[in-house]
Symmetry: C2
Subunit: 335 residues, 2 copies
């Protein structure tokens, strides 16, 4: 990676050797205008012969932009992309960035204030055009991140936070719709499997739908929103004499863990227990039975996230809410 040549090879040297203009060298290496394949080949050979390294770092210093976005995902023991919803979402963000001529780089980071701030400085100093953060739960230090001076937006956000540009799906409305669907089809004991947090919006939506319909909500099975968390919840429900006839489950992968436990314990879904999940990733289509789930509109969210972070003005420090869509498959028993 070290440059040992006494004089730095320039673009002009490459142009001379290839017999083209400086501009054609630039077009070949950076795009901007079409270059005939044979000409491009000549330029590349000249680049290789001379050991030319087009210095984007230097150019980025001048232009202040390198046409890149960064997606920050939480690091940790449970790899974020083992969550099918997040991997689909990241792919949609990448596609949305590319449509606007930006490359997306995804990187995992601790979301602890100090570490994330260090990463933001790293991004800003590399002239990254915008950062999208997939939060892990705890609130971020918004003013410290803003002070770095790079436009950023928080994805997957449930509730507005003053001064924070964010977006997310309407968890509460989605939970209400899922629970109501189970109620409308005759269920009178509907459990909720979700995180141990009674302020959480899916919990509140489930509670509200039950209460509005005069159905006593319960049981609430608190667990991690992971496959193994769902599996453990399923094993507990399997030996529960008061097992509800239906479950609203806070995430697809939690539901996938429940399904595994129910299969192992020969509890039929939807015959013994009907289920509606949340997220609507591909997992819901290829599980057995296929899962009814509230689908997050990942393409629309990805498109808005990229657009907003690129256009970001100080006026855009708002929270944007997207509606989920209840997709009915087999696990709720009606289809």
């Amino acid at each position: 990676m070290t440059q040992s040549s006494p004089r730095k090879v320039t673009r002009a040297d490459v142009a001379r050797l290839a017999g083209v203009s400086d501009a054609v060298v630039s077009y070949t290496l950076n795009g901007g205008a079409p270059v005939a394949p044979a000409t491009a080949q000549r330029v590349r050979e000249a680049v290789a012969t001379l050991g030319y390294r087009p210095n984007q770092a230097a150019r980025a210093l001048k232009s202040g932009s390198a046409s890149t976005l960064v997606l920050v995902v939480p690091d940790g023991d449970d790899p974020v992309f083992a969550n099918a919803f997040f991997s689909e979402f990241a792919s949609a963000i990448e596609a949305a960035a590319r449509r606007r001529g930006y490359a997306l780089y995804t990187t995992a980071s601790s979301l602890e204030s100090e570490q994330l701030l260090t990463r933001f400085h790293e991004f800003a100093s590399r002239q990254v055009d915008g950062v999208l953060v997939l939060p892990a739960g705890a609130p971020l230090d918004v003013s410290a991140l803003d002070a770095v001076g790079i436009p950023w937006l928080q994805l997957n956000t449930a509730t507005p936070q003053p001064g924070l540009a964010s977006l997310g799906v309407d968890l509460r409305a989605g939970a209400i719709e899922a629970t109501r669907h189970l109620i409308e089809h005759g269920h009178r004991s509907i459990g909720y499997v979700g995180e141990p947090n009674t302020d959480e919006l899916r919990y509140l939506g489930w509670m509200e739908a039950c209460t509005d319909a005069g159905v006593a909500p319960g049981p609430f099975i608190a667990t991690e929103l992971t496959r193994i968390g769902g599996y453990r919840a399923g094993l507990a429900l399997a030996v529960d004499d008061d097992r509800p006839s239906a479950l609203f489950v806070a995430s697809d992968r939690t539901a996938l863990g429940l399904l595994r436990a129910f299969h192992e314990r020969r509890i039929d879904v939807p015959g013994d227990v009907a289920m509606v999940a949340f997220d609507g990733s591909w997992e819901t289509e290829y599980s057995w039975p296929a899962l009814s789930s509230v689908r997050q509109p990942i393409e629309a969210m990805a498109d808005s996230a990229v657009r907003r972070v690129l256009e970001r003005s100080d006026a855009d420090l708002t929270h944007e809410v997207f509606a989920g869509e209840l997709v009915l498959r087999n696990s709720c028993g009606q289809h």
Copy 2:
């Protein structure tokens, strides 16, 4: 993103305002030595007050290194991280890079020669320390990529290519082991579901294991290695009067699609058809039935990939082969 101040704010300005040395400013922003939280806070406030942007692009120019690796994954309609194996592999690579003090950035790219070369120039000019490429099938233009001058290594590679630093799992040996397992448990008609390519090593391994055991290999069901490809293959097998009693399936997600079709058509796995898959991602543990599969040793491969690309010398243009491990679950019917 524009700097409108008449004179550029320097690290010395920040140090003065925060009442610390230049070195402490650097430690706070870039690591390298511990800084007391209160001091770090003062430095950060000074950074915010002055609008200082530590210019890593400029520093990268000097040091020739920014302590980053890039993982290139193929773009395309079928998002690579919707493949559970690849998302687990990427997470393992990220962990291996972090253990060595490197940040990993993952980016999708066309793997067409011209486009990939443009991306390599982009990486090199940003002083990226190494690139790992997850290939999509067609061979890369090794000499053109080498000419960029950035160390790189090709992952997920089946066969050595002269001059190419690469690694991958032993597909043929894994296929032989999987097929033999089915033969040892009495199956005498073992189909193969895989890509329409009779030079492919999993195909050849299946063929070899059958032939060695005096079992006529077949049928060969050619399909895409995707969930929908597996689903289509499963629908075809469901109406096949000569359906084999066992299948070796070239990837987990293909097997997942087969399972969906078999469930829908009430074909019991493993009762009617036993199955062994390939890759061994989390999908195999949470499908129903759980899939027996040849597990790729992703942690060992990730560790070696990162180590090799960071240590890379011109002597290391070799192909490294890893052994898969047959993990037995329920789909093969014996456990």
